[in-house]
Symmetry: C2
Subunit: 383 residues, 2 copies
């Protein structure tokens, strides 16, 4: 296999794109990634998307992407629920590593707002076990509420102890022109937020939104001839766990994140102490805590302590959600994994503006599908 690098990035703002169709979102992010890579065509486009068939009535997004972008490239959609973006990157990584393809566009896109509210919640539930969880009326907010409740019960935390996950994300989102929410929030606002499914409040949850993000992959050996600031993919690793929460030995341990992060550390030859920042999957505050623990940054039940201690801020020991995370940048589900990568590349290029982590060299991104069944970790390095 060959080493693989990222030579171009592109993104649309994350917002409610009521007047922009899914093809235009793909075009905007895709073309800006190609321009950034100084290329006009690729060999393949792998589209990360979860819901276009259900929400937009448009399957076959791969064909639509290359058609509308005018590319001469093979193209498929890759789906792993909310981890679809990282899964598309993973397929692109395999394709370039194989030596069969040289230039690949990994493109994540989701349109979630242009449908009725009920439908969005219902189709998102398809990421859980339809026959054993969803048939009982579960939604993703409810699944996360169960996890958060259990976590608080088991380890003695209060709802308020999670506030800093949301506060930090919003503080970082305030400096990201592509974030859905660009205003900071206070711990008091967090505490006052309406409860959606107890104990999950409005400010524990990432928003329904639209967006697209894309990266161009190339063999590392000649990445620099195309872009002066390439970023190397040091690790690409997938972990899996049972689809339904009740089938997991320990619902509070994200086994798939353990597997995926351990594989990634091994592949990159690094440890948690080497990671300068961590774009984790804070779809809900409880997921941020569990992701930190499973990836080795905190002990079991202690993820919340990192937030309380301010260790997750840009100045902390483990900066997370550096451009706002899922909470403030937004969580257009199938695109999220690639937003994380785009933001990590910005950090590693030193282009993260007010949110720049000084001397960032190694960044990690982790994308979660379902309530933790598919978890994909990538480690990136400036070179």
């Amino acid at each position: 296999m060959r080493d693989v690098a990222i030579i171009g990035i592109g993104q649309t703002p994350v917002e409610e794109h009521w007047s922009t169709s899914i093809r235009h979102l793909m075009l905007e992010a895709g073309v800006s990634a190609l321009r950034d890579a100084n290329i006009e065509n690729v060999d393949a486009v792998y589209v990360g998307n979860m819901l276009s068939g259900e929400v937009t009535g448009q399957s076959h997004l791969g064909a639509l992407a290359v058609d509308f972008m005018g590319l001469n490239a093979e193209a498929f959609k890759v789906e792993a629920a909310c981890a679809s973006g990282a899964a598309a990157l993973r397929v692109g990584y395999l394709a370039v590593a194989s030596g069969l393809l040289d230039l690949v566009l990994a493109l994540g896109v989701e349109k979630m707002t242009d449908t009725s509210g009920r439908e969005t919640t219902a189709v998102l539930a398809a990421a859980a076990d339809a026959e054993y969880e969803v048939s009982q009326g579960i939604s993703f907010v409810a699944l996360n509420a169960l996890l958060m409740q259990r976590y608080m019960h088991e380890f003695g935390w209060k709802r308020e102890d999670f506030a800093n996950f949301a506060v930090t994300a919003h503080a970082n989102g305030a400096n990201n022109p592509n974030a859905m929410f660009q205003s900071p929030i206070t711990p008091e606002a967090y505490a006052r937020a309406p409860i959606i499914a107890s104990p999950v409040g409005l400010l524990d949850a990432s928003p329904v939104c639209d967006g697209a993000a894309a990266v161009v992959l190339a063999p590392a050996e000649y990445a620099r001839t195309l872009n002066p600031a390439p970023v190397k993919i040091r690790a690409s690793a997938v972990g899996m766990a049972p689809l339904a929460i009740h089938d997991r030995r320990d619902p509070l341990s994200l086994e798939a994140a353990k597997i995926s992060s351990r594989k990634a550390y091994k592949q990159a030859g690094v440890d948690t102490g080497d990671i300068d920042f961590f774009e984790l999957h804070d779809a809900f505050t409880i997921m941020a805590a569990l992701g930190l623990e499973a990836s080795g940054f905190a002990e079991r039940g202690k993820g919340v302590q990192l937030a309380l201690d301010g260790e997750i801020t840009l100045q902390g020991r483990v900066p997370i959600a550096t451009m706002g995370g899922l909470k403030a940048r937004g969580h257009p589900v199938g695109a999220t994994g690639l937003y994380q990568i785009v933001e990590a590349v910005l950090q590693l290029r030193g282009l993260a503006g007010a949110n720049q982590i000084p001397h960032a060299r190694l960044g990690m991104a982790q994308n979660i599908g379902g309530s933790g069944a598919t978890i994909i970790t990538h480690i990136l390095e400036a070179f």
Copy 2:
């Protein structure tokens, strides 16, 4: 890159599986492929599927597959409309070729019957252009009717001239215990069949059905240590064309099949004369004719002549649909591409029973997504 071989195959019967859930279909095909390969685990499972989110309310099929099969493997869904099965194989091929993964299960599955009739037709239409074709009320039967009408007008053929595509498929399906339709039909029955969308009649169209098919991939260099009769993937090639028919320069030329087959011939270093049989995508009789022409087996407008001359039968120059094809074996859309591969492997192992092509050495399979936007060709060889 490394050469890639198929070391195991599995399939469920194609039928209306009203009492079997999608997880059980995956299990049945997947486990029989693993058994055939003499292995108990794989490194990855790539699931080809189009409609599970829409029809079954179950996305995240990759996670469900490895969970229910008890595998320790990474897993995603790959979607390219009706070419999803071949797309999943393509991703598996890239993964093994890369050297990063050794054993991969490519698994196609579709459940289409357990929903209302209207819904099936509506969700299948999502393979076309939602904004420019489907918004005008088009369905897949209607799209193929437009193509068939134009073909007849342009080249002077009559409806009856297409009969042998259906007659041959049913004759072959009669000997396939996994086929949906295991009874032969006559040209008279074809002529009498009710018209669905003129000129497409009931016997021009493949049926709505359920099924799963799977293959295990391994590096060719040690394939024989696992299975005594491996089959090498000599070529894996994708071609693309505009998503909407009205955007194609020539609607009667499957440009994506031209691109895909030419790439495949080049990769394998073979020509049409070397191909012993061709598992083509006869979702409609017109698609069989266009596939033969675009892949170089007949000149433009002459595909139907091959059928009239009997050249597409098991004894003919270009045997197609050797186990019944999409018409008689059935077309569970996301699984079809892998049924084609399973059947090609049976031929190359000499295990195709009454339908065996004598001395079959090189087989080609071609899977079409949409009305021709994504076309994937694989060439397989016994070794």
